[in-house]
């Protein structure tokens, strides 16, 4: 069965909350019913049919075409199925995701994957700040799942991240892994300043030595048995991770920190 396809008619002037468009929410609904779903846009609501041309199909497989970064909360809260977005998305892409696969073939604005609890979020372009980070007032950032960013990421990747894995194939901004509680972040390019700032636990994997914060101590270079398992797992979703999995051995230089906090986190620089 072909995918349920929503094609943007014209880029909206105001921001639009696309959270209701998830496989779970559209299950069993006909195209006309979907067209009548009201979407929040600023201080008013608009019908899906006003913004999109809806082509009926399997609601477990949604395709959004000609998307722009005016659409927020794309795939937010989805728990199953897949959404493929052709174009860019706005803020909070894949926020609170619990399962399924969300693929954005363009870039996203800030807060992608915030509060994510499962599933896979793939961003082919760049993403903004606070990827997988804790939304203000939330105790934790992403709690599970996997995020792959093929481009660059802004500041505060994985802020207060609790579990799961993030791969940045390009560069990451400042405060990458700040206040991290657990989980793994792989940065294939360069990472900005204040990496792992106040992290408690968790692993930040790097391919080149970072500008090391003063509160991280060098432990030396060792063999880590978990690295092949982790890189092979991430390599199934990320080409760069797959290449690293083949190229990098099991050796990495370990820096422990942030010693100004619990200090049981680590920066691992792959050889």
């Amino acid at each position: 069965m072909k995918a349920l396809t929503l094609t943007v008619k014209a880029a909206p002037a105001q921001r639009v909350d696309l959270a209701p468009i998830t496989p779970g929410n559209l299950r069993g609904r006909k195209a006309a019913e979907i067209g009548r779903i009201r979407l929040q846009s600023g201080n008013r609501t608009v019908a899906v049919a006003e913004l999109f041309t809806v082509a009926a199909g399997d609601s477990e497989e949604i395709v959004i075409r000609k998307c722009t970064n005016k659409f927020d909360n794309v795939g937010a809260g989805m728990a199953s199925g897949s959404i493929t977005v052709h174009g860019d998305t706005g803020h909070r892409t894949g926020a609170q995701m619990a399962g399924g696969t969300l693929t954005v073939r363009g870039g996203t604005l800030d807060w992608a994957g915030t509060g994510m609890a499962g599933g896979t979020l793939v961003i082919r372009g760049d993403t903004g700040r606070c990827l997988g980070a804790a939304w203000p007032g939330d105790v934790h950032g992403m709690r599970n799942g996997t995020i792959i960013v093929c481009g660059n990421a802004g500041e505060r990747v994985g802020d207060k991240m609790r579990r799961g894995a993030i791969v940045i194939e390009g560069n990451a901004g400042d405060y990458c892994g700040a206040r991290m509680i657990s989980g793994s972040i792989l940065v294939c390019g360069k990472a900005g300043d204040f990496i792992g700032y106040s992290m408690k636990r968790g692993s930040i994997l790097l391919t080149r030595a970072p500008r090391l914060p003063a509160t991280f101590n060098d432990c030396g270079t060792f063999e880590f048995g978990f690295l092949p398992l982790l890189l092979r797992s991430l390599g199934r979703l990320s080409r760069r991770a797959a290449a690293l999995s083949k190229r990098a051995g099991t050796h990495a230089r370990r820096y422990a920190g942030d010693l100004a906090n619990v200090g049981k986190g680590e920066l691992l620089v792959l050889r």
Binding site: N144, G164, R201, G225, F226, L229, L230
Partner: protein, 300 residues
């Protein structure tokens, strides 16, 4: 029924239900993987006094292990889930965690049987410096040790299995019985999902249920002891001078049947002319367990 002139007795092996798990140990090379596995499966010939029956199922090439290093697959069998938890914790803790460069993984599919702690408790050896990593839905523990890190999967699975499958090789001399058993073991080691837990896979002290001494649950199988032929109601013909047994623990009946078939055929390959007289089995008249392996049916 005869194979190469060796008589296959019309009897059955009697086996009993057990719990089993498979654990994979890897190390920097084959030698150290075997060192760890041999230690972990040591003193595990019989549940009568060892707590568990364990053995090496097979060696694994790097491509077949979770971390891409040479490995060994071990099978452990116990009489209860509780005993299995104790045995796994003690054996992995004392024999694998301690072995240089080792890592330890679940060897069963996630959906099989019930959950069994593997590194779940061993992680506390890390004294707070242990690190958890969840990869592809499975949790692993990285425990800092003096040679680097011990990587251990948090849980494995435990399944219902069968212990005590067996057959007896009756030969004219001890040397001939041993030769036949060695041939049998070589063939049986190629069969997956089974172990032969006794030394070299062969046991010379087969037992019967019960004893004249009340404290003993089992005692020597006098009917098969050649030196007692003139003293007890012997099951041995006059020409038999030595009997050896091969005990098989398996994950299911099919595996035990396959191993029994391969073992008997290999033992019989020496033939009557080289002193192999008869193949029999440990038949306890229904006292030992509900699983019956009829030799002639298996060899048909």
């Amino acid at each position: 029924m005869k194979i190469n002139g060796v008589e296959i007795e019309d009897t059955y092996a009697e086996a009993f239900p057990m719990r089993a798990t498979r654990i994979i140990v890897t190390a920097v090379n084959r030698r150290w993987a075997l060192n760890a596995a041999r230690a972990a499966t040591g003193f595990a010939t019989s549940v009568i006094a060892c707590g568990c029956e364990a053995g090496i199922e097979r060696e694994l090439k790097p491509i077949g292990t979770p971390d891409g290093r040479p490995g060994v697959s071990m099978l452990l069998f116990t009489m209860s889930s509780k005993e299995m938890a104790r045995q796994v914790q003690n054996r992995i803790g004392q024999c694998v965690l301690t072995s240089p460069t080792s890592a330890c993984f679940a060897g069963m599919d996630p959906g099989e049987g019930e959950r069994l702690a593997l590194g779940k408790n061993l992680r506390f050896f890390g004294d707070g410096y242990q690190i958890s990593k969840k990869i592809d839905g499975a949790r692993y523990w990285r425990v800092p040790v003096m040679d680097g890190e011990f990587l251990c999967q948090e849980n494995t699975r435990m399944v219902r299995a069968i212990g005590g499958g067996n057959f007896l090789v009756l030969a004219e001399t001890q040397k001939q019985a041993l030769a036949a058993c060695e041939k049998a073991i070589a063939a049986m080691k190629k069969i997956p999902n089974v172990i032969m837990p006794f030394p070299g896979g062969v046991v010379r002290s087969g037992s019967k249920v019960g004893s004249k001494y009340k404290a003993l649950p089992a005692s020597t199988n006098d009917a098969y002891c050649p030196t007692l032929k003139g003293q007890v109601k012997s099951a041995l013909p006059p020409e038999v001078g030595s009997v050896m047994e091969i005990v098989i623990d398996g994950l299911d009946e099919a595996a035990i049947r396959a191993a029994t078939r391969a073992g008997i055929r290999a033992a019989c390959s020496l033939g009557r002319r080289r002193g192999i007289v008869r193949i029999s089995a440990g038949n306890y008249g229904g006292k030992l367990g509900p699983h019956l392996f009829h030799l002639r049916k298996i060899l048909k």
